[in-house]
């Protein structure tokens, strides 16, 4: 499994004991048999209190997947369990009552233009049959939570995108759901507003223990708040796990390329072209080192120079933060390194760093 130290932030010790919030069991969805399945045999488990990111390119089936969780879409095969309750088996009033336990926010907010902010937040409470007085009492704390206490009487047309999404969040939380589904919730927002909405979601996740399923095509959203991530490609789940691990060590080529905008797993084409599979008489080995956690702060290059008669040359590299853990990927050409290669890899492994030889480059004259 995962050899890296777990960040305290992402994996509370009691995590193992908690029941899953959502389980998908061999979920499949086909709209048009001629086109083939849009979701193909997807099984995954979302733990209580997780922020579970699902990423994939446009058309991968992400929206269809979340919409199966609250049954806006009916799965063709498989089961969806929310808090151990089989959503796929429900219909009518039972389904509607189960939906009250699953909040949802949308890319385009989907607020009623005919209602004020307070009216929009009141809608799920009216639908649930609460009295006027009860509703009136529930609205102010909800608006406080999302920072819109002063906008109760405004109409959505008078709000900015970020404010509209805050109303969406307040509406989704009105019935105290245990799960919040987010379908590209920040994709219509500018980077700064995205940042604010994500930090609000993180805050709500921590304060209310709310489980969040978040689908997006934006890698940095996952990097910033998801504790777990699944990569969806053409309706199939190709990668799944703790966000840091998936980002640091993607198993599939597709995921690797998908993550390359964020983590330097792939070399830029000019460097890539120089790479040879086999060593030659005048080549240097190319080493990729994945730094994670505390190791990102170690003076690895200086250490190598100190211990081995090599001249490391940085070909490509980047350090990013996943949650609050640094993750760096560095690609080095080791001048005069062929002779010492196994010793160097062994040394790095002993330090707890992941190092692998990815090829060889001709020494430049």
């Amino acid at each position: 499994m995962n050899a890296l130290p777990q960040s305290a932030d992402f994996a509370p010790p009691e995590a193992a004991a908690k029941a899953p919030a959502i389980r998908l069991e061999r979920l499949g969805k086909t709209f048009d048999p001629a086109v083939g399945p849009v979701l193909d045999d997807i099984s995954l488990t979302v733990g209580q209190g997780d922020i579970y990111g699902i990423i994939g390119r446009s058309g991968a089936g992400k929206s269809t997947l979340v919409r199966c969780i609250n049954r806006l879409e009916r799965p063709t095969t498989g089961r969806v369990l929310v808090a151990d309750r089989d959503i796929t088996a429900l219909a009518g009033a039972e389904l509607r009552s189960a939906r009250r336990d699953i909040g949802m926010i949308f890319q385009h907010f989907n607020l009623l233009s005919s209602r004020t902010v307070a009216g929009n937040v009141a809608l799920p409470l009216e639908v649930a049959g609460l009295s006027r007085a009860e509703i009136a009492g529930r609205i102010p704390p909800l608006l406080d939570l999302v920072g819109l206490a002063d906008k109760a009487a405004s109409y959505p047309s008078e709000l900015s995108g970020g404010q509209k999404q805050r109303v969406g969040i307040a509406r989704a939380l009105a019935t105290n759901p245990s799960v919040l589904l987010c379908d590209e919730a920040t994709s219509a927002l500018d980077p700064e507003t995205t940042e604010q909405i994500l930090s609000l979601l993180r805050d709500i996740n921590r304060r209310l223990g709310l489980t969040i399923v978040l689908i997006t095509h934006e890698m940095q959203v996952v990097r910033d708040i998801a504790s777990h991530v699944a990569v969806l490609e053409r309706g199939r789940l190709i990668e799944e796990g703790v966000t840091f691990d998936v980002l640091a060590f993607p198993k599939s080529a597709v995921a690797r390329s998908f993550l390359s905008g964020l983590v330097a797993h792939e070399l830029p084409p000019p460097v890539e072209r120089r790479l040879r599979a086999a060593p030659g008489p005048d080549t240097d080995p190319v080493l990729r080192i994945v730094f994670s956690g505390d190791y990102a702060h170690q003076p690895v290059i200086a250490d190598l120079i100190h211990r081995f008669p090599v001249e490391p040359n940085i070909l490509f590299g980047r350090i990013d933060y996943v949650g609050d853990r640094p993750l760096g990927v560095l690609t080095l050409a080791l001048g005069n390194g062929e002779a010492h290669l196994s010793a160097i890899v062994g040394h790095l492994a002993a330090l707890g760093l992941h190092a692998e030889v990815i090829g060889h480059v001709s020494r430049l004259p």
């Binding site: 009552s97 909040g103 809608l123 639908v127 649930a128 047309s157 509406r171």
Partner: protein, 230 residues
Amino acid sequence: MFLGFLSPALASLLLDSLTQTAVMVSVSAVLALVLGLPLGVLLVVTTPGHIFARPLLNRVVGTFVNLIRSTPFIIMMVAIIPLTRLLVGTSVGTSAAIVPLTVAITPLFARLAETAMREVDRGLIEAAEAIGATPFQIIVKVIIPEALPGIVAGVTVTLVSLVGYSTMAGTVGGGGLGDLGIRYGYQRFMPEVMLVVVAILVVLVQVIQLAGDRAAFAVNHRLARRRNSR
């Protein structure tokens, strides 16, 4: 007053006709709204893929509505005389004219309301489904309020059309301004009566249109506007 140039007898006739028109238009308008809105809702929600998909029912109701709408009003008035007798006991007079007017105008308003309600963003309906709303709650709390500006515009068109249709009500002895214009202005060759009738109709339609536009604006919150009216 402005009818001063007409003889007192004519003036009082004009006033009677105006009253008849007002009665015909307002009563059949209220009936058309009450009957047409549910009909429009039915046409929307029974569409395949909508919240109460009933394709067969949708087809049947749609065909029925089209059938009425393609029948010329003048033929309709005569054709439904048995129904009129059944409902109001007589087939002549102002109240008798209300039956064909209502029958003719309800499908028009239903279609206008349908068009407005079809425009409601699917995303809003899905958001309501996601919070566990029933189809009825979605209709009452989402579809109708969101379509209200369009529905109000439909009411305006319906009222204006009703004023037009009502001028033919003389055919079944319904009276009204149109009837007066034909009988005096045309058959007795009193062009000033015709002129006054047309002038009143023009003013009536203008007033309806203006009031309708204002009402549609007042219920429309889709566009941001200066907050002075609230």
